[in-house]
Symmetry: D3
Subunit: 174 residues, 6 copies
């Protein structure tokens, strides 16, 4: 039995990690599918897909989870939501069920008759990509507590905080 989790992972945070661990108690193997793979250098999607692959790999390797996980990517299909599930199937290794709480993802999967299940939330208020990026943009270091140490180290390596600050300024987010 193989599950799939889909997310933008901007960045991959502890809520994502908890979800991965929990799903691995439910299934034998897990596909981690990185969505909006074609987007980068925006406040909402600051990191390239290559960077996201790398941060997720580092965390899962450190946590000893890589053995049971496949990492893959899925580009956006714009407003053509009806064909997104077919893209999911094309870009990802085989999966039996999708784990997602996202309502639009669920609607698309229903349309395509692909089964899905919910995921328990882990400190949803805190473990949020948007919050993490806002904290980075505001110069607070509190985001570091919301991601794995491998992620914060990687983001430092690539100058990620500086990039997010600039994007927040560019898009007048703060």
């Amino acid at each position: 039995m193989r599950g799939l989790i889909i997310g933008r992972f901007q960045p991959f945070h502890l809520g994502h990690l908890e979800a991965v661990k929990w799903i691995l108690t439910q299934v034998d193997e897990l596909v981690v599918a990185i969505g909006s793979a074609n987007v980068a250098l925006t406040f909402r999607n600051p990191f390239t897909v290559g960077e996201r692959i790398e941060m997720i790999t580092r965390v899962l390797k450190t946590e000893g989870l890589l053995e049971r996980v496949h990492i893959c990517v899925v580009p956006d299909t714009g407003d053509m939501h009806t064909v997104w599930p077919a893209h999911l199937r094309h870009w990802c290794p085989h999966f039996d069920v999708v784990y997602t709480n996202d309502l639009l993802t669920r609607l698309c999967l229903e349309y395509a008759n692909i089964p899905y299940r919910g995921i328990p939330f882990f400190k949803r208020e805190e473990y949020s990509g948007t919050l993490i990026r806002m904290l980075m943009a505001r110069g607070s270091n509190r985001w570091r507590k919301l991601v794995h140490s491998e992620v914060s180290a990687f983001i430092d390596e690539i100058g990620g905080v500086e990039r997010v600050k600039k994007l927040a300024q560019i898009e007048s987010v703060i």
Copy 2:
């Protein structure tokens, strides 16, 4: 130091595996980039990118190589070869040098000032994706000797030989 190997891997064969092993004697880590990621169900590209991720992962795991390898994907950019290197950078984890013998890939990388190196060929006549697909199409089992046992097992699981036979017929290849 991190290298990158780019290929379509239709399918991943023993020549690819030898190349991966050899590059890993030259660098610390290797990015395996699956090209033409957007194409599937053609004789030249029968397998989806998800299927290719899976066959490569299985082989590298069995061979104990996954620890030092990242797998990623790169879509085609059509005839706009000048922007392909920027896509390579977007879709892949960071790399220092590309290992490739393909002349068009080298030309594109030169245009973009990305360094590359050659790879020694391993039984080039035999270890060829085109030959493997032709053998499948003709009903010969000899292709099985040209791929890792994990690959032939996976191709059997997904009915890959039957698919290649049909595609060869559809495109009048044989």
Copy 3:
């Protein structure tokens, strides 16, 4: 003499039907062109183009209008408004004049030297796709009075109200 009416028809409502009937008093035949054909599963465009073809066909058949009408579809061209009229010509059967009150459509047609005419509005406040979708989202049945009985029956068949409710929630419309 053949006219063309262009709309998103999300859904096809009584205002559209009145417009179709009125234009058919002006011209011999009418092309009904479904715009934004590539979009679906958004609050603004909940129905696929296939679903919209079906609801329009049922209404026109019931009303005995199908004999003089052609139904066709036109995808969006994004912000490249200058080429949209050429797409209109490619995707639609021949037409002599476009009937439209939409100012952007008129501007594009002017740019391309395609003639257009206005349509009298029929209870514009009531007969509005946006209003109909809002009523669905809020759980009011009043939308049923704003569409032909064939449309409400079809929307019930495909679970359309439930879909619109979910999309309104997903996009935080209500």
Copy 4:
């Protein structure tokens, strides 16, 4: 029970008409889906999708078949064959089964778990779009016997023979 027939209909010929009639003995309603909808002005696809909608409509109306038929269009998805069935579903009214003899179409539908059935061929050697276009290109009038009189009249109206001759010359087909 509703069937679907997919074709490029360049042009719609008597073989297509026989197929439509035969399928209508098997099912209650039929969706006629015009493929490669985005292509035109090539020797292989000389007619726009609007022109093809018109020629099919005229024939089906004359033959009294329009009552039980829906006409729709499907754009190409290039080499991304895995997502074509999702496009088929998006662009077409609901269908239960596809009637097709085309091997690639069948392979794509199998991949997406969409059921299909074969169609008896009607004078396959004669009733062929390629043959008809070749006859036009060579200045032979024999193509007129291979299409419905409504189709030949329509092609004459739009100067279709001259167009096909030019395209054959441009692409060095003859």
Copy 5:
């Protein structure tokens, strides 16, 4: 030494002209790259790329600057900002350095290791494309003082003020 200036030039105004003149005191030759080349007939981008080429050429010719300037165009790459610099290189004649104050442009260029420099602002409050379009939309003639007389003459020739007024109304800008 050759510089490049990138802008949307909707329309080309006196601030742009001052910038061009100033950069030409710094470098031997200048590439004027027209961005968002694929967009037109929106309030933000009312003029086609052909129209923008024409207004810039007329001004530079009148000012005797054309000798040292190349004009070219660059389409948008949507949210895929990482590949935009490769497009810049593909679509433009060779350049050594980009002159830009735009923060997103700078971020993209940094990502691609392309050098850039700042430009002194010339009456930034006044010389603004947005202000000029707003003045047009409101029926004020004050925009004429903010552009070269060749630009106002050209805009009059093509009915540009009327177009901007309609677009402002269509997009509810005023």
Copy 6:
């Protein structure tokens, strides 16, 4: 009166120059539109659009023709030939008539009701982009006599002959 000449200019040769000079005896101004602007690094289209803008500009400047000429670019529209004329209008400054001998271009322009005229050929056998690229690929210097000295100088500057040789090898042209 303003004419337009459309070509790929791979490279711009003496036949093109003769055509430009001849057309300028017929009209007041000329738009030189560089087609297939999105393609580069293929044997058929070795040079980027930026490089082509540069070689044409240098020649026209040397010949004193730049005063009456506008240079612009037009991307391909694939097999959607019906919308290409609308792209031509979007990407180019205003023109009254197209000068072209290309049959496909003429067919597309006829479809869109855009007037065109023929151009006298100037040593058609010799002045041919294909011949020039073949001569480069074969190591013959004879191509230099078929282009303006500004073009051969520019091609030398960018290592163009070496590029064409590699592309000929990559695509097995020779």
